[in-house]
């Protein structure tokens, strides 16, 4: 920097009009940042690898009756479209919540870890915008993870066992194209409770300021809810546990379509998501950004 003092006098202080970026711009900024982080690809990589492993193992062993505990398991070699359903059955329990919490739990706490929260909060954006962008980015990541995994499972399944009709939970047969729509609709429905998991992750990320604690805490909440669901005598609260909503999409794979689990999961998930987001927002607005 030796020539700084004599550097050509570019107009550093020319007046700039005050036009703050919109929340959408801040959201785009958050996505760009996510794309630069290894953790982002770790989660997505897991979402890709698991269905691939499943398809490869099924192809190698050809032990089709092994997956025959469910109606879709029995159809594994009859239609490739059974694979994404089986994967969603398997991944929805723990795997996808883990992937969602990897980013949601990190998204605010990582700024604390890097000391960059003070950097971004001294720019032209309000704290509310930053929080909204981070929450949206965490939800977006969950969407990408779910649909990426579903897409890989679908492509792998169809490539292995064909694009054929499937039999639904209710025993009716749907065409391959209709089944494809149902597969992705089921994944979309699964996102409802998964969003709530991500919101819990964002809250913990904001409150604990520690990425590891937030990720582990979010998964801990999921495990705790599973444990509560298994406690005898607590059957009454089971319909209101977030983990029970992970099966909300089953109603889509029946004829006629059973929307009740989906609508139920909407408001139950909101009971978890909305207070988490509000609490996280208030903590983020009021917190002192010290250290770093």
């Amino acid at each position: 920097m030796s020539s700084v003092a004599s550097a050509p006098a570019a107009p550093i202080t020319a007046p700039r009009s005050a036009r703050a970026p919109s929340t959408l711009v801040v959201y785009g900024w958050e996505l760009r940042k996510l794309r630069s982080q290894k953790r982002t690809y770790l989660g997505l990589g897991l979402g890709v690898i698991l269905p691939l492993i499943f398809v490869i193992v099924q192809n190698v062993h050809q032990q089709h009756d092994r997956a025959g505990d469910t109606i879709f398991g029995r159809q594994i070699t009859q239609s490739g479209l059974a694979t994404p359903v089986l994967m969603l059955l398997f991944e929805s329990v723990f795997f996808l919540p883990l992937i969602a919490s990897l980013v949601a739990g990190d998204i605010v706490a990582a700024e604390d870890g890097n000391g960059t929260l003070k950097t971004i909060l001294t720019r032209s954006v309000d704290r509310g915008q930053v929080f909204a962008a981070k929450a949206l980015a965490a939800l977006s990541y969950a969407v990408v993870a779910v649909f990426l995994s579903a897409a890989v499972a679908t492509v792998g399944g169809v490539a292995s066992w064909g694009f054929n009709h499937v039999e639904t939970f209710s025993g009716s047969v749907v065409s391959a194209s209709e089944a494809l729509v149902l597969v992705f609709a089921a994944n979309a429905c699964y996102l409802i409770p998964l969003f709530a998991v991500a919101c819990i992750g964002v809250l913990l990320s904001t409150a604990t300021r520690n990425s590891t604690a937030s990720v582990v805490g979010t998964i801990g909440v999921v495990i705790l809810l599973y444990i509560i669901a298994g406690i005898p005598g607590l059957e009454g609260i089971k319909p209101y546990l977030l983990t029970e909503q992970f099966e909300n999409w089953h109603g889509l794979l029946r004829t006629p379509t059973d929307w009740a689990p989906v609508t139920h999961s909407l408001w139950v998930s909101a009971l978890y998501a909305v207070p988490s987001l509000i609490a996280g927002y208030l903590v983020f607005l009021r917190r002192d950004v010290a250290g770093g």
Binding site: S2, V4, A5, V26, V289
Partner: protein, 335 residues
Amino acid sequence: MGDEAPPVKARGLVKRYKDVLAVDHIDLNVRTGDVYGFLGPNGAGKTTTLRMALGLIAPTEGTVELFGRDPMRSGARALEGVAGFVEAPRFYPYMTGRKNLELLAALDGDDAGKRVEEVLEIVELAPRGKHKVGGYSHGMRQRLGIAAALLRRPRLLILDEPATGLDPAGMRDMRALIRRLADEGITVLLSSHQLPEVQELCDRVAIVDRGKVVYEGALADLRRQGGASYRLRTTDDARAYEVARGQSGVGGASADEHGVSFQADEEHVGSLSLALASAGIGILALSPQLATLEDLFFRLTEQDGTDGPDVREGDRNGIANDLVNVLDQGAGVSR
């Protein structure tokens, strides 16, 4: 509001962490065009005050306004025309310097994104812009911090210890950059515990100690209040010392192997030099002492006694060492 309001105006600013009073009713008045030194030992409350000014932490009591806007009430709008950093500037280590600036420019809106290359050139980081910040040295990060601030075309630049951790050349360059920015009309609020830095750059200062402002005003006034100190070397220091002691308007005379030290205003310095000449004593060097600010600083920050915690003693030693370092570098003033 707006341009008429002072860049920084703090009134009764207090920050308390449980039982610790970090900032104790601080008032600050930074005027347009100031290079304002915010001086004090580590732990005196400088950084906490700057964090409150930037809206990063909420004051327990009092208000701070930037160009008439309170960051706690106006949010990001209060930071229009304001840029800087507190403590070390921080960036995303997994991204390049250029990418970091591009991201921050996105948060600034307007034309900030077009200025990334320009500000990298200004801080001479353009060749390293493609490298990840994780591999940057401390000095490079400090410069990147300045670059990030310049993206905003600030009217007020708040810098917290910008030269800390830099090598002598880096410190010199950082000061040159700050001086250039000030010359371009940017008001600078410079927090520092490095007396030479403040002495070289600032025209007005606030000295803070244990959370309280113990002096605020022009650096020149502070020096006048303290009385000017001089160091004298002559052909006969022993006799010169006797002459100085007997001269009216000259006080605090002392002699050692390096010469004679004394305090006097300019008029009496002239009288003394004539008296020395009359006594047949040749003057080899007569120079104002660089330690003046240090003396004043310690006078202001140590007058409450010496029962402070150990960390303050360490900080004082650090300040003294800073001064000694600069003296050893022969910073343009003879001893």
